[in-house]
């Protein structure tokens, strides 16, 4: 027996016309995506202040359960969604990439807050990774410092829209040779090696920040501490300096 591909589609205009008359037409794909998007299991981990907003979103007042994403799992093996809520320090980055690699397909990532998108307020720091999208692909970027719980709800509904639009036949995780494990960066003498993974992310060629401030990296002006201090007796010499 040969299986033929089912190419019949129902036009969306006709669908809504029929719905008015009480007839609901759905494809298998609709059911499949409806099931997937209505039970997103996020991975339970928070990295910094944004995590507090994520916790608030999951609690009674904002109630993430209305969107079916309330079951935070403590193991990456059981999670669909990784909410990177907070500052990814360079020391933490290898662990985040490792957790991503351990998640089963299909997997999604939301970066929550300015920190995980691009370093946020710590962009001049030596210790903070300038965006987790340097190492893993991200589905929804959620700006804010921190984003309010409503914004996280928006991010999750946005992700649900993305899931709704996916087609079974074209889903990456049913394709052969899918590579969704990314090499885990290592600690080097100056920072992480590599600085980014060109498969996933490339630096901007034209940067607004560079145009505006002249240098994209070192904005802070490091100068000598002001000399407010007066010495009592100039004749007493203390130590060697």
């Amino acid at each position: 027996m040969t299986l033929n591909q089912n190419l019949s589609t129902v036009e969306s205009g006709l669908k809504s016309e029929l719905r008015k008359k009480g007839i609901v037409i759905a494809t298998l794909e609709d059911f499949y995506n409806w099931g997937r998007r209505s039970s997103i299991w996020p991975l339970q981990f928070g990295l910094a202040c944004c995590a507090i907003e994520m916790i608030a979103t999951a609690c009674a007042r904002y109630d993430l359960a209305r969107f079916g994403a309330e079951l935070f799992r403590a193991s990456p093996r059981q999670a669909d969604l990784m909410i990177i809520s907070g500052t990814v320090t360079k020391k933490m980055a290898p662990q985040v990439v490792r957790l991503y690699n351990q998640m089963p397909e299909p997997k999604y990532v939301i970066t929550m807050g300015a920190c995980s998108i691009a370093g946020g307020p710590f962009i001049d720091g030596t210790n903070v990774l300038k965006g987790i999208d340097r190492y893993i692909p991200v589905d929804v970027h959620l700006p804010g410092c921190p984003p309010r719980p409503e914004a996280l709800l928006w991010g999750i509904t946005e992700l649900q829209r993305k899931i709704d639009g996916q087609e079974i036949e074209k889903n990456e995780w049913y394709q052969r040779g899918l590579k969704r494990e990314f090499p885990i960066p290592e600690f080097g003498p100056k920072g992480l090696i590599p600085k980014f993974n060109p498969d996933v992310w490339r630096p901007e060629t034209a940067s607004r920040r560079r145009e505006r401030y002249g240098d994209p990296i070192l904005l802070g002006k490091k100068t000598a501490a002001p000399k407010f201090e007066t010495f009592g007796d100039p004749n007493v010499k203390v130590g060697t300096v």
């Binding site: 001049d124 100056k190 505006r212 240098d215 130590g239």
Partner: protein
């Protein structure tokens, strides 16, 4: 108790000890730190039994380590001790054997500023990893430029099966041939005004 009174007390206890009052703090030489701290801790008058913080400051001409001592019993404090050391050879005796709370704080000051606390039982980096070079909070430290790949990164990526675009590879090779490192640059003149 104000710094001037403490200074007089210390001078009568250790005759000839050089002490300066700087702001609210007492500036000491590194060789006097341990005996002064021990005296402040153990004398019945001060009973400074709690070392609440050790910080390090980079003044460009020298480095400084600042100690805040409190007395929990008498509810007095802080007594601020400051020790100056040269930038190229910063060595200060450790206070771990007097105050256990000094252990992690001295490790932090060592990690960030590179001050060596002599006599510390376990002086390792605490925030950065072993193998990190340089002391990130010193004012002359330049962080790496994270938007360009260096040759180490290119080699690493190729070892892990990632194809590196030709222009990045070329740039990394040029950097290596010139013997340069990709470091952040100082802001261009006028950039601060924006």
């Amino acid at each position: 108790m104000n710094p001037a009174e403490i200074k007089t007390k210390l001078e009568s206890e250790f005759p000839g000890i050089p002490i300066q009052i700087v702001g609210e703090g007492l500036l000491l030489g590194p060789e006097d730190l341990v005996r002064v701290a021990r005296f402040l801790k153990e004398s019945g008058e001060f009973k400074m039994n709690y070392l609440s913080s050790i910080t390090a400051v980079d003044y460009l001409e020298h480095l400084e380590s600042v100690y805040h001592l409190y007395s929990v019993d008498q509810r007095t404090g802080p007594v601020v001790l400051r020790v100056r050391v040269p930038r190229d050879n910063p060595r200060i005796p450790s206070l771990v054997h007097l105050f256990r709370s000094a252990e992690f704080q001295e490790r932090e000051a060592y990690d960030m500023m590179g001050i060596r606390y002599e006599g510390h039982p376990d002086l390792r980096r605490i925030f950065m990893w072993e193998g990190f070079e340089g002391y990130p909070l010193r004012k002359d430290y330049l962080p790496e430029n994270e938007d360009v790949l260096e040759w180490d990164d290119v080699e690493w990526l190729e070892r892990h099966g990632v194809t590196v675009p030709a222009e990045y590879k070329q740039y990394a090779q040029d950097l290596k041939a010139a013997g340069k490192e990709a470091r952040a640059e100082r802001p261009k003149p006028g950039a601060e005004a924006v």
